[in-house]
Amino acid sequence: MSSDESHPLAKYIRKGAQPHTHCAGCGNGIIAQSFLRAVDQAGIPMRRMVCVAGIGCSGWIPSPFFDVDTLHVTHGRPIAFATGVKLGNPDLEVVVFTGDGDCSAIGGNHLIHAARRNIGVKVICVNNMIYGMTGGEVAPTTPRGIKTTTTPFGNLERPFDLSKLVVAAGGTHVVRWTSYHVARLVAAMKKALTRKGFAFVEVLSQCPVHYGRRIGISNPVEMMRWFQKQSVPIEKARELSEQELSGKFVVGEFVDIEAPELTELYAEQFGAVRLGSN
């Protein structure tokens, strides 16, 4: 009988960082665990990884929770900082944790350019369709009509489809799941981590406190069941009309193509096996 009764992922958690500060039932916790499971399954040593976090609840997934080199940066900018980290030391596995507001509002420019460049940075985008950390303001991903703290009469704007946005920007690996689909999510994260090039993993995540409450589903369990019910696999979605897809979440792999990764192109052009001085 094994005498080790600690959590199998305990070795990835920074001492003193538990319990993390996400709300009860927050999807971020599920995403955090799924990521660690993916890293564990892929056999990627944490010593080789750098997590770059934006500002928002998603930023608190790796910071300070993961026992790994962590760069918790300014709002909207993790992808830009991560580009510098990856170019500075291409041997590092660079993973960005960002939210829907962080990466598509203030950070939108950095997102589309990283996709265009195919820099080998992996972006985990937590989409809770709201600005959670600041109290529930409308986000570029909030559906039309929703009443948030700053759209008390109903949101007039159309939301982004983040995965489609990244596909249009040239993302070579784009996938979307929800916090309900943990098995798929772990597999998707593992694939993103082990393939070459840019990866965008969008995860719809429940924010029961600031979004669920607005749409009448304030219980995290109910929100996850709602994700389950409203999700349509991409293979099936291709056969459905726009009307039939209204209000649904299309999940699965949008794009997965091979293309030269930026740091490799640098090495090729300048004949250097490894960039920089490390």
């Binding site: 920074r14 003193g16 944490m46 010593r47 080789r48 750098v50 770059v52 910071s63 300070p64 026992d67 790994v68 080199d69 962590t70 760069l71 918790h72 940066v73 300014t74 900018r77 830009a80 900082f81 991560a82 580009t83 510098g84 980290v85 170019l87 500075g88 030391n89 041997d91 590092l92 420019n109 950095h110 350019h113 640098y266 052009q269 300048f270 250097a272 490894r274 960039l275 920089g276 001085s277 490390n278």
Partner: protein, 371 residues
């Protein structure tokens, strides 16, 4: 060679191996030169999507252990301020070259001005200290850029090279020393994970736990304790941060911010200037001396932290001081403050701001002050 070109050569000589840029006049030549030099030196040149990304990637790359730099002008410098504050907060070494141009706003892209001086000191929010140096020749664009890197590494701080359009675009002789004659300072890094996890936040500057060495460094712009652990609500934590990272620079003001003295010993009237204005000032001082006026020049090389004691000491027995700046007085209040009760201090902008001072105009004022 051109000042901007010399700046690029200086950066590479100092060990810069990562340069990120967003196109802006009049800094373009620095970038062009870096894009040619860096690949040969096994470094990275990247053009980012905006200035915010440029400084962001510069900070990210610095955390992998590289010496990094960006270059810009006023509008880009404004955009970079938030991330400059992040570099201050996280004690990240990096160099930012601001080739100042006429502003505010789009202004005139190829006219000199010294309008970003106060911004260099306090452009980001919050309370902090920073280092800013002002080259006044093509040679200094080479030398001072190297010095900027050395100071950045030593003090683990962003360092601003406050050039201006005239200094950036002037063509002069530049002497490039042999590689082994150039003094290079490198950041200290921990030799073990145990050393890396010790308390940092010291005025004597902790070693930098660069990424990829197994240090599990937690680097955050949030208020934190001396182990990098976020302290989101305790004012004591931010008090310690603000005082420590400011003191680490302030305590060494005299060594960081140097001055050049020309004919000060017997001067009755002293011109105080920096950057391109110092070139005019030097010429005027010599002209005044030819007219038997005891004029002198105090050239500021380090602007921030302002070398108050050094300046006060140098101007101790000087009756009148004229501060030349191509703006409406950004360093002048500092000079006025430290000479209060001693010299009479006057401010003299050019007749037309956005141009260099007309020497005859300055000479008139010097002659008047001397009489």
């Amino acid at each position: 060679m051109q000042g901007n070109e010399a700046c690029a050569l200086g950066a590479v000589a100092a060990g810069c191996r990562f340069f990120a840029f967003y196109p802006i006049t009049p800094a373009g030549e620095i970038a062009e030169k870096m894009s040619q030099l860096l690949p040969k030196a096994r470094g990275v040149y990247i053009q980012m999507e905006d200035e915010i990304a440029a400084i962001g990637s510069v900070i990210g790359a610095s955390w992998t252990g590289l010496k990094t730099m960006t270059a810009t002008s006023g509008p880009g410098f404004s955009l970079m301020q938030e991330n400059i504050g992040y570099a201050v907060m996280t004690e990240t070494p990096c160099v930012i070259v601001d080739v100042q141009r006429a502003g505010p706003s789009t202004g005139i892209v190829s006219a000199p001005m010294q309008g970003d001086v106060v911004q260099a000191r306090h452009g980001s929010h919050g309370e902090y200290e920073i280092i800013a140096l002002a080259p006044s020749s093509a040679q200094e664009m080479f030398d001072i850029t190297i010095r900027a890197f050395n100071l950045a590494e030593q003090y683990r701080s962003p360092v601003i090279v406050l050039a201006d359009e005239t200094v950036g675009h002037m063509r002069e002789e530049v002497i490039i020393p042999e590689e082994n004659m150039i003094e290079i300072v490198n950041r200290r890094t921990p030799s073990s994970a145990a050393e890396a996890s010790r308390a940092f936040l010291s005025p004597s500057v902790a070693p930098m736990p660069i990424f990829g060495k197994g240090f599990s460094a937690h680097v955050t712009g949030s208020s934190h304790d001396e182990y990098g652990k976020r302290q989101a609500s305790a004012p004591e934590a931010i008090d310690k941060i603000v005082r420590t990272i400011s003191e680490k620079i302030r305590a060494h003001t005299a060594e960081i911010s140097t001055i050049q003295k020309l004919m000060l010993d017997d001067a009755d009237v002293v011109l105080v200037a920096y950057g391109s204005c110092a070139r005019t000032a030097e010429y005027v001082v010599k002209q005044a001396r030819e007219r038997a006026v005891h004029a002198g020049l105090l050239r500021l090389i380090g602007l921030w932290p302002f070398p108050g004691k050094t300046v006060q000491q140098a101007l101790k027995s000087v009756g009148r001081v004229i501060v030349l700046e191509n703006n409406l007085g950004q360093i002048f209040p500092e000079v006025e403050r430290v000479t209060a009760g001693g010299s009479e201090a006057f401010f003299l902008p050019p007749e037309t701001i956005g141009t260099l001072h007309r020497p005859a105009y300055v000479l008139e004022h010097v002659m008047e002050a001397a009489s």
